[in-house]
Amino acid sequence: MKQFWKSMLKSPSGVIGLIILLLAISVAVFGPMLFPNSPWRMVQRPFLPPFTLSTVPLGTDALGRDVFAGMIFGARVSLLVGLVSTLVALIVGVPIGAMAGYFGGKVDDALMRFTEFFQTIPSFALAIVLVAILQPSIYSIVASIAVVSWPPVARLVRGEVLSLRTREYVQAAVVTGQSNGWIILREILPNALSSVIVLASLMVATAILLESSLSFLGLGDPNLISWGYMVGAGRTVIRQAWWITVFPGIAILISVLGLNLIGEGLNDALNPRLSREGR
């Protein structure tokens, strides 16, 4: 663990990514407490330009709502959706991949055809259809993002399990009569963990992008403010008020960038053999 942090902190992208993520998390957790302006309430005249009033630093939107407050509350939605949908995708993808890799044969064939099928469907289009049909809400958004993002997890885990299954210590566990479930959970999966963690960090970034795109199209949870929704709402008035679209977009950009950098840092720290390639 100490070794891990040491190498993580040695990679510049990892450090920058960690700083960004910590910042985003603290904004999401503490921001709404420190900054009580509701993002839905009219606080000033509409289209107030940014940097004119210190109480409304980033100006107001077409309805006089505080853009800065929206960004702070939006951080919650973006991070929450990103993390939870990735978690759900892992809960679906890891067992499927593990079973396919461990049991092989017909089980593997069937599970992998199923996975490939989901991988072939255009993911964003499926997410749109799912949210539209299930009606937009935070649950349908999380569910649809999870549905379109689990296949890579299954494939990765399957590959790892395939190569770990033949190791001596796994064979030893088989010989000593351990159950399949025990072997997968205790012997194999812990060794596949590092690759899964790297993938998961990148998936959170993708999930945030997906959520913002859905909200941008008007498929966000109508009760929660999110960065994508703000950009979408500011789109029609972009000629009069650039700030409504520019600032929330920067928030998305920075969070996604931070998570991608963490992914690279994790990769350097957890798979040192791979990281040296390309140097």
Binding site: T120, F124, A125, I128, V129, I133, L257, G278, R279
Partner: protein
Amino acid sequence: MLSFVAQRVVKGVIVLLAIVVLNFFLIRLAPGDPAMVMAGEAGASDQVFVKQLREKFGLDKPLPEQLFIYVKGVVGLDLGFSFRQQAPVAKLIGERLPATLLLTLTAFAISLALGILFGTFAARFAGTFLDTGITVFALIFYAMPIFWVALMGILLFSVAFDWLPSFGYETVGANLTGLAHALDVAKHLIMPAMTLGLFFMATYTRMTRASMLEVKRLDFVKTARAKGLSDAVIQRRHVLRNALLPVVTLAGVHSGTLIGGAVITETVFAWPGIGRLMYDALLQRDYNLLLGVFVICSAMVLIFNLITDLVYRLVDPRIEFAS
């Protein structure tokens, strides 16, 4: 070669059928009566239309029979009727398809060409300032949501500089013909295609760079060098050709994302393709049209995957078709 293509086509058709079946169940997943759902919010009040739908899809019959009727319809290219637009779904999609193909293929070509170019540069000058610059740019473009890139493009090139049109496929009412019309369309195409292409360009840049650096260290490159081949020949014939393999695979994987990106891009730029059609269907809760577009998008992805598979086999020096 032929048996390979045939095998892949059969596989693709099976997947497409599975998607149609998925569609069938998606309609039934929606809250409410399937006929009402298919009619959409506008059509649901029209009792005659709902009754027609109910009869046509045999909605009073058992589920397997309903499925059979539905799949049979789709196979015969009958994707249903959009009450809102008062036209068959297949016709609406057919009209919009060329614009989407123009947009996605242009974006794809731009992203692939620029991505390979920048990636090769970054690999060639690995560790230098140029490499860092390209890598940082690729990382940033990779993290930007497409809709935001589109809007920033509009702010910069339409609002601030007034160089490019911010929406549409052609200048309305200009009635241009021939070359003038083509140029007009091209001018409208630049921003949407660049917007859609930038994200993928970033991916291909990173992929090309990483894979070129990896291939460079392999034994056969050393052999080529030992044979006394010039650096340029080694780079082009040995390194790049092998390094492109993962890029081609990635392009296939990304075709679905490309279509998804087209939905966003077409929405922002009012580009009259099927992505925009999907957005309109979404706004009007026109589920029949929405699911029709979804099936066609999936079919496009399958065809694109088939093509990248073929290209992969052509590029990969290790796979021979003759056997």
